[in-house]
Symmetry: C2
Subunit: 182 residues, 2 copies
DNA sequence: ATCTTTGTTCAGAAAAAACTTTACGTACTT
DNA sequence: AAGTACGTAAAGTTTTTTCTGAACAAAGAT
């Protein structure tokens, strides 16, 4: 009888875990790592690599790499347990912060690289324009490229300020954590 | 001589295209599709599938699937050209809108699925709690699971409102497209 | 100092994804 | 109506990613 209840609990947890994992896949986290995250989420204790491997039926090596991915994204934390030599991990329950960290990590890095490349190319094109002996056709194409780049740069400038408002938590003034009651 | 200039233009464009493509990979767009996007970005005309295949040295089938991905994300538009039977595509230059579309499409879908699963599981757990003959231990674990779910649901509620402010462009009041001059 | 325990690196196997070729359906042309 | 041009679906191949098991290095225990 007790088993029946136990099973219901597991069923309910597994539905959430699997849905979560499948959707994490959408933004670059592997299904297995997602399952790992979900499993830790419903665990009442911080887990060791061996426990994870046991729970998912996977190798400890995979747990090691999975948990590192989650650590890099600040989705789990390594915690101190005295008396044992094993590392223990638990999920970071501040999902708002997790979102912000994930977002700023990925998008900031990408946009900085893009901006760098665009500025460099823009300079080159600008100096190409100085050139007297440039055919009309080519000149037009260069100018057009510069326009395209400027358009993109304006967006990245916005994106950068957007990420700022998240990192500074200013975003919570526009979109409060607790919905304003009417 | 003219070729020299031509080459400089290409070099400058390719740097941007490749950086862009590499970073698009980070959020689920394949490198080739990213290259396709970048190529179209610097093209002065809407492109046909054949032109794309030509430009990237890839099969037309790949162009077809790539361009569809970009269409789904609203990153390119199919446009009408009279007099020809081929489809023509060009990039959507409103990057702010592209960002919003991408974001709301991907994140909204994911969070709706997660919320659905969580609410369903939450109900099951709640009804499990009604049960008299529940061991203390199991009861505590069920309650804990509900807490975890509620925590996540609060975040998804916030995320939903967050996406709303983007879709409604309200976000541009907090983070203006044009930086305010001091 | 030697022997364990623990996490990680590395090489190879298994699985998944991306790409191409062939084939097909639809719509336009003649 | 027959032929051609076009986009996409399906099947097959190649490339990439993920996962595992063995070997290793660091730290602790005896």
């Amino acid at each position: 009888m007790e088993d029946k209840h136990e099973e219901k609990l597991n069923k309910a947890q597994e539905r959430v875990i699997e849905t979560l994992a499948k959707n994490m896949e959408l933004y670059g986290i592997t299904m297995s790592t997602g399952l790992l995250y979900g499993t830790m989420l419903f665990q009442d204790k911080a887990m060791t690599l061996d426990e994870m491997g046991e729970a998912l039926g996977m190798s400890k090596t995979s747990m090691s790499t999975g948990v590192r991915t989650l650590m890099d994204l600040q989705m789990v934390d390594k915690i101190w347990k005295k008396g044992t030599r094993k590392d223990h991990y638990e999920v970071n329950l501040d999902w708002h912060q997790t979102f912000i960290d994930f977002f700023s990590l990925k998008w900031r890095a990408a946009s900085e690289q893009n901006v760098h490349a665009m500025k460099k190319s823009r300079l080159e094109l600008q100096s190409l324009l100085q050139n007297e002996e440039l055919s009309e056709d080519l000149k037009a194409r260069v100018e057009r490229s510069i326009t395209r780049i400027d358009n993109a740069l304006a967006y990245y400038d916005w994106l950068s300020r957007f990420i700022d408002t998240m990192e500074s938590h200013e975003i919570f003034e526009l979109v409060p954590k607790d919905p304003v009651k009417k």
